[in-house]
């Protein structure tokens, strides 16, 4: 086991803070590049997300009329903070989570949901019609994927007999990949993650051909940069969680890179395979199929683990 890092390093450098910010931008680049390759495009250069970020941070931030200014400035910060905090409880880089307590799985999941909630509020905060529609869609989508996603991550927790992410990770490292024993949970978790990050085909909340930028329409400059950064961090945390639970745990940095990257290839492939789902189709898909599958799997696990 790797020795625990001093808290100041863990918070500011690795695996929190700076590493998260830089690493998440790299994951954003990998995602964009992969989708571009699948679509027969060239895709961005490796420093494009960084360049975007610096440009946005340096830009003037326009505060539209009719918004609550405190909320307008505060929500992007809260969203980013939520994602960064969530990263402290997951085995980032294959290290032991920096902080850990009983039931931190639930806390992490809600910290990750903070992002969508902030986006919804940010959209509802403005009087822009595209933002309002985008906010409605973002929150509708959140209510549809959140429950199945939670159930999908509870499967490994029940098998491992703990709700502590670090211990589930250790359990997964010692046993056969849970992807093989709980395939449904894996699929629901991956698709749920894509819904959470509003990646295509679940990008109805920000469908540019319908509602321009969705909830984010009125954001420019700093606020938009922080939201984007938050989403990138969330992508990284989500990939870490899914590969720790389902791909045989993350024991070292090499396993971390290989497994999360492999998962990213899968999500990028899924992103380029489908046409955008309408918001009513998203809700239908999750509650009719996703929820039922996740529930069925959970039931099987619960019964089997009781028998065993």
């Amino acid at each position: 086991m790797t020795p625990t890092l001093p808290p100041i390093v863990a918070l500011l450098l690795v695996p929190g803070g700076l590493f998260l910010l830089v690493g998440s931008l790299f994951y954003e680049w990998a995602d964009r590049k992969l989708v571009a390759q699948f679509q027969n495009r060239i895709g961005p250069r490796w420093f494009q997300p960084e360049a975007d970020m610096f440009k946005l941070l340096a830009k003037e931030e326009i505060v539209p009329d009719g918004v609550n200014r405190a909320l307008f400035h505060g929500l992007p910060v809260v969203a980013l903070v939520g994602a960064l905090t969530a990263a402290l409880y997951v085995p980032m880089l294959g290290l032991v989570p920096s902080y850990s307590f009983r039931g931190d799985l639930i806390v992490t999941l809600y910290l990750l949901s903070l992002m969508t909630l902030c986006m919804g509020l940010a959209g509802a905060n403005t009087i822009d019609r595209f933002s309002l529609l985008g906010a409605t869609r973002a929150l509708t989508q959140m209510f549809s994927y959140e429950a199945p996603f939670l159930l999908a991550l509870l499967g490994p927790a029940i098998v491992a007999g703990t709700w502590q992410i670090g211990e589930i990770n250790a359990y997964a490292s010692k046993h056969a990949w849970l992807l093989l024993t709980q395939p449904i949970g894996f699929v629901v978790a991956i698709v749920g993650l894509m819904g959470k990050l509003e990646l295509p085909p679940f990008d109805a909340p920000e469908a540019e051909t319908e509602i321009v930028g969705g909830a984010m329409t009125e954001y420019s400059g700093r606020g938009w940069a922080l939201f984007r950064l938050g989403r990138d961090v969330e992508l990284m945390v989500g990939l870490t969680l899914a590969s720790a639970f389902y791909l045989g745990g993350l024991a070292n940095p090499l396993a971390f890179v290989l497994k999360t990257f492999g998962l990213l290839v899968v999500t990028a492939g899924l992103q380029s395979l489908f046409a955008r789902l309408r918001i009513d189709q998203v809700v239908g898909l999750w509650w009719r199929i996703g929820m039922m599958l996740a529930l069925a799997q959970l039931l099987v696990i619960a019964v089997l683990s009781r028998v065993a």
């Binding site: 319908e210 046409a275 309408r278």
Partner: protein, 396 residues
Amino acid sequence: MESQTPQATPKKFIVPIGPQHPALKEPGHFEIQVDGEIVTSATARLGYVHRGIEKGVEGQNWTASMYLLERICGICSHVHATAYAIGAEKLAGVTAPPRAQAIRVLVAELERVHSHLLWLGVAAHEGGFDTLFMYSWRDRETVMDILEALTGNRVNYSANLIGGVKFDVDDKQADQIRRGIDFLEERTKHYLEVVTTDETFLRRTRGVGTMTREQAEELGAVGPVARASGVPRDVRVDAPYAAYEQFPVKLVTDTGGDLEARFVVRMKELFECYRVIREILDKLPPGDLTVKVKPRLPAGEAISRVEAPRGELFYFLKSAGGTNPDRIKVRTPSLCNWASVLVLAPGHKLADIPMMLAGIDPCFSCNDRLVTIARRAGAETWTWARLRQYGIEYYR
């Protein structure tokens, strides 16, 4: 400020699409009134790209007018020039030689291939299927290269003259075209399969924007939109022009009337295009490319109709016997199809509207050749001085 908040008018939540909007590549304005996600009414306002081309040609001679008219539409420039050339030839009392007629049809069909593939990409993008968008536009480059090799231009081909065409097709070019067409035929088979079998894409197209045959006839739909509703309407078949008599095309119709049917009709039309192109290359009639036409066309009126990729294109030409046209009126197919979108929109989801708009393959600048100013009740006329004062106050 008060009137801008949607809360102040809870019954009317209007989503403005355009004049600047990511879904529109050209400016147009649509007011989509929604109740939640359900559309309750839709109105269109056009005229943002009015360029005064019809008036412009009155100041040009008959030859120069063609260059101007070709620029009405960047996608279907050749059919505009063809319609004009055929009309002008009617006025002059000449017919272009058979070889020129065949080359006109050849370029027109290549243009239809490029236009339909472009449309496939745009429509896929509106539905959030960017992979299909990228692939279809990549393959479209093949036909763009062919058109460039043939005419020298990728966009405004400038193939026509009054009385003929400007270039010949040699064997080397014919081979390049055949190779390109073979490749595109394979790809089109694949795309037809994608648009009829891809589950997520079908969810966005099947049963969306369904227009019955009666509605299509009542709303005056033209082109692939009408044919997708089962209306057998195609100028190439109904009133063959140029070389369509010697190289007939088969009418492609579908009974679905929804977006899926429009995809299917356009894709199947591509196969017809490929077949006609091959036939023309195999049986290109020998002979001259042009006949002589005097710069002054005799006084008179002529009507010319051609089938653009989007539907029937109508030209009215009037000559007073001078070197310049007296009046030219153009009616483009996009204008005929707007009603179908606006009438069918209510009841659909907001997410379907961009796809329905794209479904008629709209060409905005094609529409804009007439401005109607509707004066609202209680409107007042401002003097120039007052307008100027208002401007100064506004920007103070």
